[in-house]
Symmetry: C2
Subunit: 190 residues, 2 copies
DNA sequence: AGTATCGGATACCAATAAGTATCGAAAATG
DNA sequence: CATTTTCGATACTTATTGGTATCCGATACT
């Protein structure tokens, strides 16, 4: 007993399980992803799942926590507002290639929160943390009267716009190109 | 045989089924909504479902087609760009009270399209039709160089922003008030 | 080495839920 | 009024799947 260094082997199966689950969930959604299929995708069996996770739900949450959308804008050190918004647009554009999988997770998690109230809070927090991190920088960087909207509102809008673009990209990839994302954010600068 | 005027009674049970399905799906999502529960909610039984729909999927699609998000902006007859964007913001704000149910449908339908490619197109079209209808008006109303972004891009952004705000509202209702929606759209005017 | 522990496989169980067969009553049709 | 058709209820079948019990082999400990 006591300290388990989480033997190399175990760490690997855990990783494979998460990878398998991620893949299958991205393809079919969580509910339609059976544990048998997930395990098979990982080259393992359901036994491996249950010796690493208490339940399907636990696996779900583990996958989710690794799949939060996260924007990483690189603001130009001394750029103006427009340049910074453009950087946000570029960061959003970087999410697009993974949009389909991401949207699947978000949709699934969203539905999950319909019947799991305590999780709604968590998802909200995770979104805020991942999406609007850059927004805080913006607000800190420019005086309120330079911003196109109240400083509390801007993060929400950035988040909403990013999320919306990711979703749209899934349905109509050609209509939501990186350029569109950048144009959308730049337009916020006026 | 031949023409059935769709007897009063039948029309009513059909309506009740759709209402029941709508309610249950909004609460739990489509996959977790059992036909037994839907029928019970409608005061009927599964038999009624199968004598009105070929399958659960058919019921699903019927519900969906009645649940597309639809913005109905009322543009001021001679308003400027900002006033028109504000009208869009107001139209978006009107969606918020029903956001939770709507987002459930959208999420569910979105997941559905993961495994039903032909439906992805339909959902994309439905969104475009419902969301960006007002955008076409905008584009028609103002010369391209008055708009904050290329005329093909604007509808996409309006749609993305609306969808994003609806989603966000589900998770953090207090952060996405009607005022926030309006401010977001107005900011597009610069 | 010998023994205990752990991780994963196999086989099984039980619940859920979609779909089907059938039947009865009410309404439409003549 | 008779008869046919329609609609919805009931009961059943069947497949899926989350979860459990158990067993075996490999690794870790003394």
């Amino acid at each position: 007993m006591s300290s388990r260094p989480l033997s190399r082997k175990r760490a690997q199966t855990l990783e494979r399980l998460l990878a398998g689950a991620t893949a299958v969930i991205a393809e079919k959604g969580f509910q339609r992803a059976s544990l048998d299929e997930i395990a098979a995708r990982a080259g393992l069996t359901k036994g491996a799942v249950y010796s690493n996770f208490a339940s399907k739900e636990a696996l779900f949450l583990a996958v989710m926590s690794a799949q939060t959308l996260r924007m990483q804008p690189r603001f130009p050190p001394d750029g103006d507002l427009r340049a910074c918004l453009r950087a946000l647009g570029e960061a959003c554009a970087e999410l697009l290639p993974r949009a389909r999988a991401q949207a699947a997770f978000i949709s699934e998690f969203h539905l999950y929160t319909l019947t799991h109230d305590e999780m709604r809070q968590r998802l909200g927090d995770a979104h805020a943390a991942g999406f609007a991190a850059g927004a805080a920088d913006l607000v800190a960087r420019f005086p309120a009267d330079c911003l196109p909207m109240p400083p509390q509102v801007l993060p929400v809008v950035i988040q909403a716009l990013s999320l919306g673009l990711v979703y749209q990209h899934c349905l109509t990839p050609d209509a939501v190109t990186p350029e569109v994302a950048i144009a959308a954010f730049e337009a916020l600068a006026g």
